[in-house]
């Protein structure tokens, strides 16, 4: 896969190029170096892609005080956050200030270690449950 790194011609946001600057709004973040945190591991194909709103729930084993030595600080932080309050992948990413992709890998590790489990949101192809939608409407009206 050589040649990939040589291609800088499409680097976005080249000054003076009005076309390219359009691609990024002010919300686009900085260019960052890759994360070493996951030690270059890829998220295994067997794992389903964790949805942004999948909730990470602690398993009883997450209370085991001996666990910490085997886990990275980021793993431990995830366990602590979701033990305080179960929260979504997106919230964990925001709380840890890590990209979603990294959090997915880390949570995947914890799932494999049976320290947490993850709720599965509604399968995308299915029509949503109307009863749930009505409950959402009621909940919103009560805001």
């Amino acid at each position: 896969m050589d040649g990939m790194s040589a291609d800088t011609s499409r680097t976005p946001g080249t000054p003076g190029d009005p076309q390219s600057s359009r691609w990024y709004d002010a919300d686009a973040g900085p260019v960052v170096r890759p994360y070493a945190m996951t030690r270059g591991r890829t998220s295994s194909a067997s794992r389903h892609r964790l949805d942004l709103i999948a909730i990470v729930m602690p398993e009883p084993a997450a209370d085991d005080p001996g666990r910490d030595q085997m886990l990275s600080p980021e793993h431990v932080e995830i366990i602590e956050l979701c033990s305080e309050m179960p929260q979504s992948i997106a919230e964990l990413a925001a709380g840890l200030d890590l990209p979603v992709g990294v959090v997915r890998v880390l949570v995947g590790d914890l799932v494999e270690d049976e320290l947490v489990h993850v709720t599965r949101p509604v399968p995308p192809a299915e029509l949503p449950d109307v009863n749930i939608l009505r409950e959402v409407i009621n909940g919103l009206r009560a805001l």
């Binding site: 973040g29 170096r33 890759p34 979504s88 990209p99 990294v102 949101p121 949503p128």
Partner: protein, 201 residues
């Protein structure tokens, strides 16, 4: 509490989570809208992009040399202990459609925020949700100084399906945003009802 076994067993309730997307041009008020109803200050999460332009889930140390991150704003509304709605502001630019795909997966619906002074900024979003058959409502964010148009004018200008709700809103105002969200979900219910019509109850 009626949900599950909320015994001494310390197991927290597993909430059902749903999401609504908030799309529209840059500066139209997406983040403002999310903040107006979210119980948490809008959070920001980032997705890494490789130069090839797709999300990097594969964090291969060799190939992931330069990555860019794109921020997504989101907020949370806990409707009940076991029912949580997330709002996601879509990253503003068309180029990030693949992030929209990820966000749109399983979304119950969407809000397209529009500004009548630059209505064309929301064309891409309207197109996107129409094509993927994601129920959406158009909310016209009424900035001061912008001309007010009847909703029919907006509907015609955007060439919307007559069923698509069009509302005037103030993205800073909680009850105004709540009404927009209710319109989206009601529209989603109506759509499911239509699709299920032949089924007897």
């Amino acid at each position: 509490m009626a949900f599950g076994r909320s015994s001494r067993n310390r197991r927290p309730v597993e909430p059902v989570t749903l999401k609504i997307l908030v799309a529209g041009g840059f500066g139209v008020g997406k983040t403002t809208l999310v903040g107006a109803v979210s119980e948490i200050r809008p959070l920001r999460t980032e997705e890494m992009l490789s130069e090839a332009g797709r999300p990097v889930d594969d964090l291969d140390g060799v190939e992931a040399k330069t990555t860019t991150t794109v921020a997504m704003d989101f907020g949370r509304i806990t409707l009940r202990e076991d029912l949580v709605l997330y709002l996601f502001g879509t990253p503003g630019q068309d180029r990030f459609w693949f992030l929209w795909d990820e966000l749109a997966q399983g979304a119950l619906g969407a809000v397209v925020l529009a500004d009548t002074r630059r209505l064309e900024d929301c064309f891409a979003a309207v197109d996107y949700f129409e094509r993927r058959e994601i129920p959406f409502a158009v909310a016209v964010n009424c900035f001061e100084g912008a001309d007010r148009f009847p909703t029919e004018t907006v509907q015609a200008a955007l060439d919307l399906d007559p069923q698509v709700p069009v509302l005037m809103c103030d993205a800073r105002d909680r009850s105004s945003v709540r009404d927009v969200l209710v319109a989206v979900v009601e529209h989603a219910v109506a759509r499911v009802d239509r699709l299920r019509e032949p089924v007897t109850t």
